[in-house]
C-alpha cells in the first residue's frame, strides 16, 4: 500500500485528541465555574442577608442595652475588641462599622480579604453581584444617636465552593482521559479496524485467496470496499457451489481462487485497540479504592490483637500475594480458555468482590475480597496482554507495551479520583458499588470488542509470538541487576508510599477522602502524562536504559530530599515526584527487560514475581515496624535504595556491555 492511502498511526490521533479535548475541557470548566459562582452568589444571597441581619441585630441590641443603662456612646470601651470577636466568629461578615451621629466612625473592623474571582474577572458587576450591606439604628430613648453597619463577605461563597471546584477540576481530567479513550474506540471502530480488515482481505484476494469475507462496517468508503470484496468472494463461492460434484472435486488441484471460494468463511480480525476501553474501565474499577483502602480497612472491625497499621496494610498485602500467585499461570489460563472468556470471567467476580467489600464490615472480609480482586486483576490484565500480542505483529506487540502501561495507569488515575470524590461525598460503599458497576461494564465491553480470533483459546503447543528478538544476546547479569536495583525498589515505593503511607498520613492530618484522592491522583496523572516523554527518551541515543536510570535516580532524590518535610507541599512534591520518576522507569523498563532477558519467558516471569514479592516484603516490614511512628526513615530508606539502585544498575549495565563488546563473536 502506498503512502498516499496509508492511515496515520493511532498515536497521532491520540495526541491531537488530547490537545483538543484539553482545550475544550479547560474552557468548559472555566465557564461552568464562573456560571456556578454567579448562580451560587445569587441563590445564597437571601440566606446570607438573613444571617447578616441576625448578627447585626444581635450586635445592635447588645450596644443598645448598654446605652439604655446611661453609658454615653463615646464612653463605650472595648468596642473594637467586641466587634473584632464578632467578625472572627462569623466568616460571612467582612466589615462592621459603628457610627455616631451622621458620619463619626468610632469603631471599625475590616477582615483582610483578597477580591473574589468574580470581582477580579469583572463578572461580579456584569452579573449584578454585590456584597450584602445592612445598617441598624442605635437609639437612646427616641433619639437616633448612631448606626451599626454590617457588610457581608463576598469570599464566603467562594470558600464554601472550594470543594466543589476541586471536584469539578479533577473530574474534568477524568472526563478528558475517558473522552480520549472513547474517541479512540470510535475512530478504531469507524476506520482503523474496518480498514485493517479490508486490507487483510484485499491482500488475500490479490494472492488469489477468496476463502474469506469480512463484516462490512466503518465509514462509507471502507464499508463499500468491504461489501465489494465480499461480493467477489461470495459470487465465486456461489458459482463454485453450482458446479456438478465431480467438477467441484477436481477444483482441489486447479485454480486457487475458485478452490478457496468453496471454503468461504467469515474472517475474525483482531486489533490492539479492541482491549483499550475494556482494560481502561477495568483498571478504573479495581483502583477505585486506591485513595481510601488503608483507611477503610483500618476502620473495619478487627481482632483486638491486630494493630491499626497492620490492619491498614492487610488488604494491600493480600492483594499483592494474589497478583503474584496468579501471574505465572495467567498466560496459560488465558490461552487455555481464550483471552475474551478469561477477561469476561474476571470482570464478574471482580464486580462481586467490589460489591462485597462495600457491604463488608470486618477486616477479614475486606482483605479476602481484595485478594479476590487481585487474582482476577492479574488474570484480566494478562488476558489483555495475550490478546494484543496475538492480535498484532511482533513489532506492534513490542510497541504496544507503553500504550498498555498508559491505559492501566490512566484507569488507575480515574479510579483513584472517582473513588475519592464519590467516597467523600456519598460514602465508601457508594464508591465501591460504582467500581462494581464499572467492572461489569468492562466485562460487557470486552465481550463485544474482543470477538476477534486473538480472543479465542490457543492450542497448547502453539507458540505465542514474542516481541522481536533483540539483535544482542540476553544479558543475565544486567537483567538481574535491573530486577533487584530498579524494579523491586520501584514497586516497593509504590506499595509502601503511594498505597499505604500517603493515604494513612493524609487521613491522620485530617484530610477528607476527596482531598486524599486529589493528592494520590497526582502520582497516576504524572505517570499518564510523562509516559510518552519516557518513550521519546528511550528512542534517543542512550536507548531504554537512560529513562530507567534517570527515573530511579529522580525518585530517589525526591524521596531523600522531602522525607522529613511535614507540610502538605512536601507531600505533593513526594507524590508527584515519585509519579514522574516511576513513569520514566515503567514503560521503557519492560522493553529493556525483554532486551536483557533475550527470549527467556521464564526470566520475564521472574521479574514480575520479584516485583510483587519485593513490594509485599517492603509493605509488611513497613506495617510491622512503623507502628504509628514517623515515616521519614522509611521514605529515606526507599529514596536511598532507589538512588543507589539506579546508579548501581547503570554501572552494571555499562560494565556488562563493555564486556560484550570485547568478547569474541
Amino acid at each position: 500500500m502506498s503512502a498516499s492511502t496509508a492511515l496515520p498511526e493511532p498515536g497521532l490521533l491520540r495526541a491531537r485528541l488530547i490537545a483538543i479535548l484539553t482545550a475544550i475541557m479547560v474552557a468548559v470548566v472555566a465557564m461552568f465555574g464562573m456560571a456556578t459562582l454567579a448562580a451560587f452568589d445569587r441563590a445564597i444571597a437571601p440566606e446570607l442577608e438573613n444571617r447578616t441581619r441576625l448578627i447585626g441585630s444581635i450586635l445592635s441590641s447588645e450596644i443598645q442595652r448598654t446605652l439604655d443603662l446611661g453609658v454615653p456612646f463615646r464612653a463605650l470601651g472595648g468596642l473594637e475588641a467586641y466587634i473584632g470577636e464578632t467578625i472572627n466568629e462569623f466568616d460571612e461578615i467582612s466589615r462592621i462599622t459603628i457610627v455616631q451621629g451622621g458620619d463619626n466612625v468610632i469603631a471599625e473592623i475590616t477582615r483582610d480579604e483578597a477580591p473574589t474571582l468574580l470581582q477580579r474577572s469583572g463578572l461580579a458587576d456584569v452579573a449584578g453581584i454585590r456584597s450584602v450591606q445592612f445598617a441598624f439604628p442605635v437609639l437612646i430613648g427616641n433619639e437616633l444617636v448612631g448606626r451599626i453597619e454590617v457588610v457581608g463577605s463576598p469570599q464566603f461563597v467562594e470558600t464554601r465552593l472550594r470543594d466543589v471546584f476541586m471536584d469539578v477540576s479533577v473530574l474534568a481530567v477524568v472526563a478528558l482521559l475517558l473522552g480520549v479513550e472513547l474517541a479512540l474506540v470510535v475512530a478504531a471502530a469507524s476506520v482503523w479496524k474496518p480498514y485493517g480488515r479490508v486490507l487483510r482481505l484485499l491482500a488475500g484476494q490479490m494472492a488469489g485467496d477468496f476463502s474469506q469475507t469480512i463484516r462490512a462496517t466503518g465509514v462509507s468508503g471502507v464499508r463499500r470496499a468491504a461489501v465489494r470484496l465480499n461480493e467477489q468472494a461470495e459470487d465465486l463461492a456461489r458459482r463454485a457451489q453450482a458446479l456438478p460434484p465431480a467438477l467441484r472435486q477436481s477444483l482441489g488441484d486447479g485454480a486457487a481462487g475458485v478452490a478457496s471460494a468453496m471454503r468461504l468463511q467469515r474472517m475474525r480480525y483482531s486489533d490492539f485497540n479492541d482491549v483499550r476501553l475494556a482494560l481502561f474501565l477495568f483498571a478504573t474499577a479495581t483502583e477505585i479504592t486506591a485513595s481510601f483502602l488503608p483507611i477503610y480497612a483500618r476502620d473495619a472491625a478487627r481482632p483486638a490483637w491486630l494493630s491499626g497499621e497492620l490492619s491498614a496494610a492487610a488488604p494491600l498485602g493480600v492483594y499483592l500475594i494474589a497478583v503474584a500467585a496468579l501471574s505465572p499461570f495467567g498466560g496459560a489460563l488465558s490461552r487455555r480458555f481464550g483471552a475474551r472468556r478469561a477477561f469476561v470471567a474476571s470482570a464478574v467476580p471482580t464486580a462481586v468482590a467490589l460489591a462485597s467489600m462495600a457491604i463488608a464490615d470486618s477486616l477479614v472480609a475486606v482483605t479476602l475480597w481484595r485478594g479476590v480482586i487481585g487474582i482476577f486483576y492479574a488474570l484480566a490484565t494478562i488476558a489483555c496482554q495475550e490478546y494484543t500480542i496475538r492480535a498484532g505483529s511482533t513489532r506492534e506487540a513490542s510497541q504496544s507495551s507503553s500504550a498498555f502501561v498508559g491505559m492501566i495507569f490512566g484507569g488507575a488515575f480515574c479510579g483513584s479520583v472517582l473513588g475519592g470524590v464519590i467516597g467523600g461525598r456519598f460514602g465508601f460503599p457508594a464508591a465501591l458499588f460504582l467500581g462494581a458497576l464499572m467492572a461489569l461494564t468492562a466485562g460487557g465491553v470486552a465481550y463485544s470488542a474482543m470477538r476477534g480470533r486473538a480472543g479465542e483459546p490457543a492450542a497448547p503447543q502453539s507458540p505465542v509470538p514474542q516481541p522481536d528478538a533483540p539483535a544482542v544476546r540476553g544479558n543475565g547479569l544486567a537483567f538481574w541487576s535491573l530486577t533487584l536495583c530498579v524494579s523491586i525498589p520501584t514497586s516497593a515505593t509504590t506499595a509502601i508510599f503511594i498505597w499505604y503511607l500517603a493515604p494513612l498520613g493524609l487521613a491522620a492530618r485530617g484530610y477528607p477522602p476527596a482531598d486524599v484522592a486529589r493528592i494520590i491522583m497526582l502520582y497516576y496523572l504524572a505517570s499518564t502524562l510523562i509516559g510518552p516523554l519516557a518513550n521519546g527518551l528511550a528512542k534517543g541515543r542512550g536507548g531504554t536504559a537512560v529513562p530507567v536510570v534517570t527515573g530511579a535516580a529522580f525518585a530517589g532524590v525526591i524521596l531523600l530530599y522531602f522525607r522529613s518535610a511535614s507540610d502538605i507541599w512536601a507531600v505533593l512534591a513526594l507524590v508527584s515526584g515519585c509519579g514522574i520518576g516511576h513513569a520514566l522507569i515503567r514503560a521503557p523498563m519492560t522493553a529493556l527487560a525483554v532486551e536483557l532477558a533475550g527470549k527467556s519467558r521464564r526470566m520475564m516471569s521472574a521479574l514480575r514475581f520479584s516485583e510483587r514479592a519485593g513490594a509485599l516484603a517492603g509493605l509488611s516490614a513497613s506495617a510491622l515496624l512503623l507502628g504509628g511512628s514517623d515515616p521519614s526513615s522509611t521514605l529515606g530508606l526507599l529514596g536511598g535504595v532507589s538512588l543507589a539502585g539506579g546508579l548501581g544498575f547503570a554501572i552494571v549495565l555499562g560494565l556488562s556491555r563493555d564486556r560484550d563488546r570485547g568478547a569474541p563473536v
Partner: protein, 251 residues
C-alpha cells in the same frame, strides 16, 4: 468527513455527560451549603434564646421553672416569622416549653437531639424542616437542658430547584458553545488525519466508478486503488476459469 462527525459526536457526548455530572455535583453542594447556613443561623438564634434559661440554671433553678418562657420563645420567633417552632428541653430530654401553635413535631425534634446529645451545638433535618439547637450547661458540667429551633424546608427546596434551573440554562449554553468550538478545533486539528481518510475514500470511489470501463480507459493506478484492481483481476480470472470449466464439462 464521516469520521469527523463521529468524533465530534463523541466529544459532544462526553462534554454533555461531564456538564450534567458537574450540574448534579453543584446542586448537591448548594443544597448542603444552604442547609448548613440555615442550621448555623438557627444555632445563633437558639444560642441567643438560651441566654435567659442559662441564667436560671446558673442560679440552680430547674429549666422548667422559668415562668415567662413562652414569652421569651415568642420574642425570639419574631426575629424570623418563618420559624415553625422553638422548643426547650429539660435534663431528661423532655419538652418543657414550646412556642404557641406547635404542630406536634416535638417528639421528632427530641429524637434528633438525643442522637446528637454530645455536641454543644447541633443541627440536622426532619421531615418538616431544618432543626438546630444548643445545649445548656448545668452546674456539674452535664447538660441541664437545651433549646431547639425548627425551620420549614419549603423555601430552601425552592431555592435549590431555582439554582438547578439557572445552572441548567448555563449548562445548555456552555454545551452549545463548547460543541461548536469542539467541532471547529477537531476540523482544524485533525485536518491531516481526515485528509488521509478522504484519500482512502477517494481511492475506493475511483475504483468503483472505473471498474466497468477500466479495460480501455482507466489510467494506471497505484496504492490502494492498484491493490483493488489487482483483486478484481484475480476475481475475473477465477470467474473465467469457472466458465471455462463449465463450458468444457460433458453434457
Amino acid at each position: 468527513m464521516a469520521i469527523l462527525w463521529r468524533l465530534w459526536a463523541t466529544a459532544a457526548g462526553v462534554m454533555l455527560a461531564v456538564l450534567l455530572v458537574f450540574l448534579a455535583l453543584s446542586t448537591f453542594q448548594f443544597s448542603r451549603v444552604h442547609s448548613d447556613l440555615v442550621g448555623e443561623r438557627l444555632i445563633v438564634l437558639a444560642d441567643r434564646t438560651a441566654a435567659p434559661f442559662q441564667a436560671a440554671v446558673r442560679l440552680g433553678l430547674p429549666i422548667a421553672s422559668v415562668r415567662n418562657a413562652v414569652g421569651i420563645l415568642e420574642r425570639a420567633r419574631r426575629s424570623d416569622d418563618r420559624i415553625s417552632a422553638i422548643y426547650v428541653f429539660d435534663r431528661e430530654g423532655g419538652i418543657v416549653h414550646a412556642t404557641l401553635g406547635e404542630a406536634g413535631d416535638g417528639p421528632e425534634v427530641a429524637a434528633v437531639r438525643a442522637r446528637m446529645i454530645g455536641a454543644q451545638e447541633w443541627h440536622g433535618e426532619i421531615a418538616s424542616g431544618f432543626i438546630a439547637g444548643v445545649n445548656i450547661a448545668g452546674p456539674s458540667s452535664d447538660w441541664a437542658g437545651g433549646i431547639a429551633v425548627l425551620y420549614p424546608r419549603g423555601g430552601s427546596t425552592t431555592r435549590v430547584w431555582a439554582m438547578a434551573a439557572e445552572l441548567s440554562v448555563a449548562v445548555l449554553g456552555i454545551f452549545v458553545l463548547g460543541a461548536l468550538t469542539a467541532g471547529l478545533l477537531l476540523r482544524i486539528g485533525l485536518r491531516r488525519i481526515i485528509s488521509a481518510f478522504d484519500r482512502v475514500d477517494a481511492a475506493i470511489a475511483d475504483f468503483e466508478r472505473d471498474t466497468w470501463r477500466r479495460e480501455d480507459e482507466a489510467a494506471p493506478a497505484s496504492g490502494l486503488r492498484a491493490d483493488l484492481d489487482e483483486s478484481y483481476d484475480q476475481y475475473r480470472s477465477a470467474v473465467a476459469e469457472l466458465r471455462h470449466l463449465e463450458a468444457g464439462r460433458p453434457t
